[in-house]
């Protein structure tokens, strides 16, 4: 199953459950409060997922390592390498 199908499957499952509860499709005569809670649920889910995404990406951007040490080490090794290679007879 492709990821696209997995997603479609998941979304329609959630959608079906939501419709069942909100419109009481099976005539289960659920209490009114169930319906009231279920009705705006998709919007809540969407908004909280959006917030989660923003927070996660923001946190990861802020904590993205800057490898200053690695850059410095590389610069020194470049110098060393150039010297050694010149000795070995490399013409750049």
């Amino acid at each position: 199953m492709t990821k696209l199908l997995e997603w479609l499957f998941g979304v329609s499952l959630v959608g079906a459950v939501w419709a069942l509860v909100t419109f009481d499709l099976l005539d289960l005569s659920l209490p009114q409060t169930y319906r009231e809670v279920a009705w705006p649920m998709p919007l809540y889910l969407l908004v909280s997922f959006g917030c989660y995404s923003l927070a996660t990406v923001g946190y990861r951007v802020a904590t993205f390592n800057d490898c200053d040490e690695a850059a410095k080490e590389l610069q020194e090794q470049i110098k060393e390498a150039k010297e050694d290679l010149r000795k070995k007879g490399l013409k750049m």
């Binding site: 492709t2 850059a71 610069q75 390498a81």
Partner: protein, 257 residues
């Protein structure tokens, strides 16, 4: 005295590494890397020499107008024809096919793929090899997004795009690896051969497809944190419509894998 002990111990492990029969072929695709190639080769020789693993370096130059091939020939004279193999092609045919071309000539049972522009530091090679042995992984992928991994020379905008794109990819594809677009990786040769056969995308998306397909085929993936230092010399060949091709590639993989 302790130093002597350490030296002896490391000579012993490096001897063991040489006799255990594994050989690592490093594929270095180059296009206009005249300045970087000698440096990356020097570093590879240094770290392979210290750890004692058996290796070869395969340079796949695509007719670089800056004379990269000439430098490669000089390096071959310095380090020997058994260590540096030249497999040039007449014109620029792209990165994906460069790997395929190089792989055909590889004699190792393991293959390293890395950029020749010094963004990928050979000091991580022993860590890749250790990681691979630790879990007998089919593939070990370098990651900028975990542990001590990171980047150098990136501004906020680039970090944001990188992290955002990575998050989106993780949500949509759940690939089981944290860095999909990085291209510093170690493969079992057989695994790389079967993956290359499966992969259809070109260029940038190729790396992403390789790891997604690896998961699909139930290959095991290990990860090693790496530091990615932006290229010092030369020009980037990608860029421009990188984002557009990334999104296209992501959606293609989303719909087909």
């Amino acid at each position: 005295l302790q130093e002597i002990h350490v030296a002896m111990a490391s000579r012993k492990t490096s001897h063991q590494n040489r006799v255990n029969g594994d050989k690592y072929s490093v594929l270095l695709p180059t296009y206009n890397e005249r300045e970087n190639l000698p440096l990356i080769v020097w570093l590879l020789v240094k770290y392979f020499g210290e750890s004692g693993f058996n290796y070869e370096i395969i340079v796949i130059d695509d007719g670089s107008p800056d004379g990269t091939l000439d430098v490669a020939e000089q390096l071959q004279k310095i380090y020997g024809e058994d260590k540096i193999l030249l497999r040039p092609r007449a014109k620029k045919l792209g990165l994906g096919t460069a790997y395929i071309h190089g792989m055909k000539h590889a004699t190792g049972n393991f293959i390293f793929i890395m950029d020749a522009d010094l963004s990928h530091h050979p000091k991580f090679i022993p860590e890749f090899i250790e990681k691979q042995k630790e879990g007998d992984y089919d593939l070990v992928s370098g990651t900028r997004y975990q542990g001590n991994g990171g980047v150098y020379g990136w501004d906020l905008r680039r970090k944001l795009i990188s992290r955002g794109a990575n998050f989106l990819t993780q949500v949509l594809l759940r690939p089981g690896a944290s860095d999909l677009t990085g291209s510093f990786r170690l493969y079992k040769k057989k695994v790389l051969e079967s993956l290359v056969e499966q992969c259809v995308s070109k260029g940038y998306v190729f790396q992403m497809e390789m790891i997604v397909r690896a998961r699909q085929l139930n290959y095991t993936v290990g990860e090693v944190p790496i530091s990615f230092v932006d290229r010092v010399y030369g020009e980037s060949k990608l860029g421009g419509n990188e984002i557009v091709s990334f999104v296209k590639g992501l959606l293609t993989l989303f719909a087909t894998t």
